[in-house]
Structure formats: C-alpha cells, structure tokens
Symmetry: C2
Subunit: 266 residues, 2 copies
DNA sequence: AGCTATTTGTTCGTATGTATA
DNA sequence: TTATACATACGAACAAATAGC
C-alpha cells in the first residue's frame, strides 16, 4: 500500500537530492549550502543524518566542509600537467637539479621541516630498510636497504604541492670505501649497469597520514595521483624509481609529445 | 588531572592505532578485525566512535566493511596496465571493434542493461546535449549536441570492469541527409578535418553515482583512474575524446614502449 | 527450509566542545 | 562577547545481512 520507494537509506536519498542540486548548478562554486540544522529541518530529519549525507558528498569531492563557517560547493581547480615518458631522464632529486629550472620552488613546508639543516641537505639520501611497497616495485626483499631521497616542490602560482621521492637499491650506490654521491647516482648506474631502460606509469590511491597535510590536500574526496618512473638495467632488473605524488584534483599525467602548458618531465 | 595529549579527537586516535596495526602487519589481507562492539570495549568508547574510525580507514582503502559479516583487511589486487600514447589510434567504440581482440569481453552488466535490444546496439551513439565536463574538454558550449557512445568491458580472468566512453562533437558527424555511421566516425573525421593529432592524459577522481556499481567498485576508498585520449584537428580544435574509467586499485596507466603484460591501448 | 545469534547499518535524541564571523 | 555553524561523543533502539545450526 503506497509504500515509499523502498530500500534506500534516508541519508542516501538526501545525498542524492543534494548531489542533483549541485550537478544541476543550483549552487555556485564556493557558495555556502544551508546549515546542517536548516537542512535537517528541510528534510525533516536529524542533524546526524544530514551530516552523513554531507560527508558522502564531501567524499565524492563535491563539497568541502569548514568548521565554524559552513558547507560549500567545491571549486574545481584547473589541472596542471605532469608529463611522462619524456627523455632525457634526469634525476629530479639530484642536488644539482634546481626546481627553479622547471618553474617550481622548494616548498615552504620543506624549509620548515629542515630547521636544523640547510634546505639542500634534505636532498641527501636516507639509508633505510625498504617497506613492502618499495620492495615490491624494486623486486627486492622487504627490509633490504634502499637510498631514499625526497623533496617537496611547490608551484609558485597555484601554490599546489607535489612530493617527489626516489628509492635506489642501496647496494648499487654504496662503494666499498665510500658511497656514491647523490649527484652521481644516475651516471654511476649508467656506467655500471647501463644501458638503462625506463618505464613510466601512473596510478591513483587514497592518501593518508602525513601525505594529506604535506600536500595540503583536503582530507576527503581527493585521490592521490602517483606518477612513477622505474629505471631498469640492461637485463631488465629494477635499479631505482622516482615517483611524483600529487593531489589528484590539481594534476593530471600526460603522455609526452604534445605542447603541454607545463611543467615537469618524468 | 592526567589529561591525555590534547587536541586529537578520540576517533582519530583510534584510527591511528588501527592503521598502525594494519601497516605493521598485525592482520593478514582478508582477515577480519574484531567486531565493532569488541573494539568499542577495547578502546573504552562507544560504537559510533569506533564506526567513525573504521570509516576513516575504509576511506583510505585499507579496510572493507561487509554488512552482517565484519570488517576486513583489504587485499591489494595487482594492477592491470592501460597503455597510453600508442599508435595507431583505433576507435575503441566502433561496432567493428571487437573487445575479444583485446582480450576483453563485453560486461555482463551491459548485456543486462540492454535487455530489449541486441548488445551491439549499445554501441550506437546517443545524441545528447553536452554536460559541463564534456563541453569543457571539447571546447564547446555546454548544451551543444554530442554523439555519446559507451561500452562496459570486463577482463575475463580478474572480472575487473572498465567503462569506455566517447564524445564526438555532433556537428562533425551529422550529414545533411544522413548521419555518419559510427564505424566511419574516425575515417570521416580524418578525411574532413585531418591530419589528426592526439593527446592522452590520465587523472584521478572520486567516483559517484552509478559508476560505483557499474564498475563494481567498493563504495569508499577507491579512486577512479580516468585515461582520456583527445582527438584534435589540424588546427588544434578538439573533435572527439575517448576515455577509459577504471577502478584505481586495479589499473594503472603506462606510457607506451614497455613490454606490458597487457591489455588495451588508448 | 527455518530459526537464531552475530555483526554491521540506520536513525534519533541529546549534550558539549571548538572554530569562525 | 555573542551568535552561528560545524565537530565530537554517548546511548539507545531497531533494521538488515550473514552465518551456523
């Protein structure tokens, strides 16, 4: 008897209503939606239910919620392009590689983090045991040592941030008497294991932990775009990889060969 | 008196504890975590708070929650590769293009959706006004007509699904007397607007609406990997784009040129 | 097949804290 | 300072899915 639609949970219905409103252009980017209490009244429900619906849309990247201010339609920024598969394959983390050459700056956050040291010091490698991820990509046992380098870069105009990191199989750059200097990693590997080959991939994942703050991402609704360039020796064994982690709402990866309004070659 | 640290919300603390457990390998992929009631007791809190913490980790892609069964450590499937920037540029949605040639099958879901019609009918274009997204990519006014084609493909072995869709500026494939047949879209555009150029990009976004079910994605914690190939005429004007939407935990995009265990060329 | 216990899902009410204008 | 708006938290009740007997 005139039963309502059926299964759908109330918060899903409401999320659907709000999503339709948003996609139909009822709100302008940046515009505030009615408050939670108002919405609860409008839809004749409770605040927790409204909050669940809003959380859903925030998780879809459509809304952002600001404590004490309100809930807003999220503006979609233009995406910058990260170009992949381009030669020559420079070491983006070499101390001699200046981000300014690429139109980027070292991130403020990086400067703050490296309080006791000169900023450039950050580009020196950390010798550390490989985690499950790095080990899998490099085809080594988990725990085998790698040289880890990283830097946060920031796009001066948009202030968008990226994290560039590199993992090198430690054995290959540790001499018996003395380690290879990081600025010579690539040339050393080329001469000892070359000719080198490269493959580049892009994938997406959800960020967590410090990555969210380090890249200044919205905590929800923004995936991480990971562009990864793997260096292989002449026999196809992985030696190193450099990856760029970037907020998925502000960057895209492009195959080489087009004009490219941008930026960065991996 | 002996107040705890300070700022952090209780559910964040608990999420951090659980995340640490997961990343430290306290659980095996697929293994069930303690129930919500048990966790609430363990952490001396309420079930809603536990649920918030679990929802956070599910949103990070670490856990999956199954109604009536429990909460489980999410297994990370191997990623299949979508190759981009490769020639020749075939029309993946031409009726003459058989998914089986690429090692794929039309998705079961597509068959079900096309109940009244033959499955191949789905590859016929829908003439429809462009939405904000398509209009922006094609550089046309929102609402200007486009030819929309799509197909769901499924990888037979992994059962992973992708959505391939294409938007063509309608004016270019509508004759005065008769429309261009979809299997001749590409050759028609080549002859009227060629020589054609192409650019390919990949980006990430959060899925919503029917995409989640259509691609059989977990509702939370999985971004969408969108690989998009844009066709440009000799003057650089966009004519068409084909995009592949794929679950971000099961696919990655790769620049052409490597061996590739794979699949599909865009 | 059916029943039951377990587990997660939904919803409400309520109270209090914190950020912002 | 005050008002508004979102954030956190608890308790409770019932619904729905699942698994085991």
């Amino acid at each position: 008897m005139a039963d309502e639609d059926k299964a759908a949970a109330r918060w899903r219905e409401i999320a659907d209503f709000l999503r339709t409103d948003v996609l139909d252009g009822h709100y302008q980017p940046g515009q505030a939606l009615p408050g939670e209490a108002a919405l609860a009244h409008t839809y004749n429900t409770s605040r927790p239910t409204i909050r669940k619906a809003i959380a859903q849309l925030a998780g879809e990247g459509l809304l952002t919620v600001a404590h004490g201010r309100g809930t807003f339609l999220r503006a979609r920024p233009e995406r910058k392009v990260i170009i992949l598969g381009e030669r020559p394959h420079v070491d983006l983390l070499s101390p001699t590689n200046d981000p300014a050459d690429q139109g980027w700056a070292l991130s403020e956050r990086l400067r703050k983090l490296s309080d006791g040291e000169a900023p450039a010091e950050q580009l020196h490698p950390y010798w550390t045991p490989s985690g499950v991820d790095e080990a899998s990509v490099l085809g080594i046992r988990r725990g085998q040592m790698v040289a880890y380098r990283y830097a946060y870069w920031q796009h001066p105009k948009t202030r968008a941030r990226i994290l560039i990191s590199s993992y090198t199989v430690a054995d290959l750059v540790r001499g018996e008497s003395e380690d290879v200097a990081p600025e010579h990693f690539y040339s050393h590997l080329e001469s000892t294991r070359g000719p080198l080959r490269w493959t580049t991939t892009a994938h997406a994942a959800m960020p967590y932990g410090s990555a969210i703050e380090d890249l200044e991402m919205e905590a929800v609704g923004t995936p991480l775009l990971v562009t990864r360039r793997l260096m292989l020796d002449r026999e196809g064994r992985p030696l190193e990889f450099t990856q760029i982690e970037a907020p998925g709402d502000r960057f895209e990866a492009a195959g080489g060969g087009d004009d490219g309004h941008v930026a960065l070659r991996l």
